[in-house]
């Protein structure tokens, strides 16, 4: 077990390094950088120091050096918590990202929990009562949930809330709590706002999980060992929950590695519509403006979240499936 974990962690570090290199290359792919825009702006303001400032930045980040040097310069700063500078905001990246990352983590994990809590019971019900009216209804809504792009769902939510409630439902906080320090009131306010993005982002994932759970469980229910369990005289409920569901959950945990990116990605785009203070809106803006360190850091951080999520999934899987532990 320990060996398994150590090996997985080693893979994780390796993956992180490769991801950071690829991410840096991708972010640097567009010709020109925000720096050019930035310098142009400074010059237009007629500051004599423009060239000097440019020189200072170029030197600090080694922008006249080859790409691998720039990469090393940037990534080695990560250990010190220095992620470079955002040209767009004229502030260090580290000043900008933490609260947005925090809310992203809150939103993603809440969504993940929501997905499982909703999908598991429905999936089990649907498999056990295959082709029943309930199963057909859930299947239909599952398909629908799978087919609506979540930003569209967010828009529909916004329009309905504006028409019915008279105000929109965006954001994670009410006005009075937006810049307040943390308190019980602020937390409750957060919960009041959080459920909408959680549902909007979680719908597709829930639909996917229901289908997977249903399919898995149907497969498992055909297995010989289920017949063995019945032949022992066990109650049907025990046969299903102890023997079948336990086995059907493995592929679901493996799926966790797939659900998590879906949630993070979905959350990023929904955030624009619902104006959430998460990673999404700032990342896309940074991409559009070629604010490379900001965009690159976000890409790295979000990927790190994923990789970490996968590690947790691997760990859980090893916990529930003896075959993997001894592999």
């Amino acid at each position: 077990m320990t060996a398994f974990l150590v090996r997985r962690s080693f893979y994780m570090i390796f993956t992180l390094i490769v991801v950071s290199i690829l991410g840096f290359i991708i972010i640097n792919l567009p010709p020109g950088t925000y720096l050019d825009v930035y310098i142009a702006e400074l010059q237009s303001m007629g500051t004599a120091t423009a060239m000097e400032q440019r020189q200072a930045i170029v030197q600090r980040f080694g922008l006249d050096q080859p790409l691998y040097y720039q990469y090393w310069n940037w990534i080695s700063g990560f250990i010190r918590g220095d992620f470079g500078i955002s040209f767009m905001y004229e502030r260090p990246v580290s000043d900008l990202i933490w609260s947005r990352l925090g809310y992203t983590v809150i939103l993603s994990t809440s969504t993940l929990i929501f997905t499982w809590l909703v999908a598991l019971p429905i999936g089990i019900y649907s498999a056990v009562n295959k082709y029943s009216i309930g199963d057909n209804i859930f299947t239909f809504f599952g398909f629908l949930g799978l087919s609506i792009p979540n930003f569209l769902l967010a828009l529909v939510f916004m329009v309905i809330s504006a028409r019915v409630l008279g105000h929109t439902v965006g954001g994670l906080f009410s006005m009075e709590y937006r810049d307040a320090v943390w308190s019980i009131g602020k937390f409750i306010d957060l919960l009041k706002h959080l459920w909408i993005p959680v549902i909007v982002v979680g719908t597709a994932g829930t639909a996917t999980l229901i289908r997977i759970m249903r399919g898995n469980l149907l497969d498992i229910l055909n297995q010989q060992y289920i017949q063995t369990a019945r032949a022992k005289g066990l109650k049907e409920n025990i046969v299903i929950y102890k023997h079948a569901v336990r086995n059907a959950i493995h592929p679901l945990i493996m799926q966790l590695g797939m659900t998590f990116p879906q949630i993070i990605s979905g959350g990023m785009i929904v955030a624009i519509v619902l104006s959430l203070p998460t990673v999404g809106p700032m990342y896309f803006e940074a991409l559009a403006q070629q604010d490379m360190y900001l965009a690159g850091t976000f890409l790295m951080m979000v990927s790190f979240l994923l990789i970490f999520g996968n590690l947790v999934a691997d760990f859980l899987l090893a916990l529930v499936d003896p075959r993997i532990r001894y592999e």
Partner: protein, 388 residues
């Protein structure tokens, strides 16, 4: 032990599943696998309906978008900005029935307090809808000059907004029909690539195991470590701005496929690995079959139904991905239009709240995606006759 006549076949392709259902299997074996699939598929009404919807979408939007448009998709009309959808009527305001459907034209006023356009139907005038009438000229199928349209008002000067108009006064219906060409083909291109990459690397990885499996698994893991939308957005942002829109289109397809094959690859690997452990593979191995033979004759056919199903089911993901990217303004670039680019206008929430019909392109995304999902599901059930 060689009384072969009464010895049962050791293991069928479906392995242990048949243990207790001998009578079914007897029957099933007498039909070929393909016949079974066909029969199972045509029993699935929903999948057939979905296929039918898709055929209509492809004919109207991919092949003959101009024939089915009511206005040229780029024609702007300053006097009809944000016009709401017109109701197609058979009964007039006085309750009289007309066999020929008609619409009431709008009177437009600008409300100077809210700065919003107010449209009120003019009930004195009926504009009848004609089928296969003349309208703007175009080339049918790309080379045949004509001005026949599936439907339209008597005069092409009259506004006819089934789904309303956008901020430039362009007809949303006609734009949807034209945008469908991109939205409905981007998935096909991407999926072809996804299937090739995913099944090749998945089979290789699952069957060979060892170091090859390790390497492919690391590559897949790294690809899957990038969250989809941010990665696509970053890559799409990196596409050269001076590219033609058709090159951007293919660029976007490739970008989406480059990450998506990893998921398929992983699933195919899982399937293949379980097949590899199965007795008939071991049997073939012992029988002296080569790796290539086993992969081609046992693995691929066994994983094939899975690949087709995942392939069909990943078209929706492609369509949604393109829609999302274009919604962000990072996908398809003008003059090309897709459903996603039409939705880009919906990014401003206050606009959507006032003019919700600009979200109608989203409805088509949902319809197409739903249809592909049902179709894929039908394929899945059909491809696995032993499961039901």
């Amino acid at each position: 032990m060689s009384n072969s006549e009464i010895r049962e076949p050791a293991v069928s392709p479906e392995g242990q599943k048949e243990v207790n259902i001998d009578p079914d299997i007897q029957q099933i074996k007498s039909l070929s696998r393909f016949q079974l699939m066909k029969r199972a598929f045509f029993k699935n009404k929903l999948a057939i309906a979905a296929g039918f919807v898709l055929i209509i979408l492809y004919i109207t939007m991919v092949f003959f978008p101009n024939l089915f448009s009511t206005h040229p998709p780029f024609q702007q009309d300053r006097n009809n900005m944000y016009a709401p959808p017109q109701r197609i009527r058979f009964f007039d305001v006085d309750g009289n029935f007309n066999l020929r459907p008609f619409v009431y034209p709008y009177d437009m006023e600008l409300d100077f307090e809210t700065f919003q356009y107010e449209y009120t139907p003019n009930y004195d005038e009926k504009k009848f809808i004609y089928f296969f009438n003349r309208g703007f000229s175009y080339k049918l199928g790309g080379f045949w000059d004509t001005d026949i349209h599936f439907m339209g008002l008597e005069s092409e000067e009259d506004m006819f907004f089934i789904f309303g108009s956008d901020r430039m006064g362009r007809d949303i219906f006609s734009r949807i029909v034209h945008a469908g060409r991109v939205s409905l083909t981007v998935g096909l291109v991407g999926v072809a690539l996804t299937i090739i990459l995913g099944s090749f690397f998945g089979t290789l990885s699952g069957y060979m195991g060892g170091i090859i499996d390790q390497i492919i698994q690391r590559i897949i893991e790294i690809l899957l470590s990038f969250p989809t939308i941010p990665l696509w957005a970053a890559l799409a942002a990196a596409l050269p701005q001076d590219w033609s829109s058709i090159r951007i289109f293919f660029g976007i397809s490739i970008i989406i496929a480059l990450r998506n094959w990893a998921g398929l690859g992983r699933q195919v690997r899982g399937k293949v690995m379980s097949f590899r452990e199965s007795e008939y593979t071991i049997a073939a191995r012992i029988g002296g079959a080569s790796h290539l033979y086993i992969i081609l004759h046992h693995m691929i056919p066994n994983a094939f139904s899975h690949i087709i199903v995942i392939g069909t089911l990943s078209i929706p993901a492609m369509i949604i991905a393109e829609t999302a990217l274009s919604f962000l303004g990072l996908g398809i670039q003008p003059p090309m239009v897709s459903w996603g680019t039409l939705l880009e206008a919906s990014q401003r929430v206050n606009v959507v709240i006032n003019y919700p019909w600009i979200m109608i392109p989203g409805l088509f995304v949902v319809i197409a995606v739903l249809a592909f999902n049902f179709l894929g599901d039908g394929f899945r059930d059909a491809a696995d006759p032993f499961s039901s």
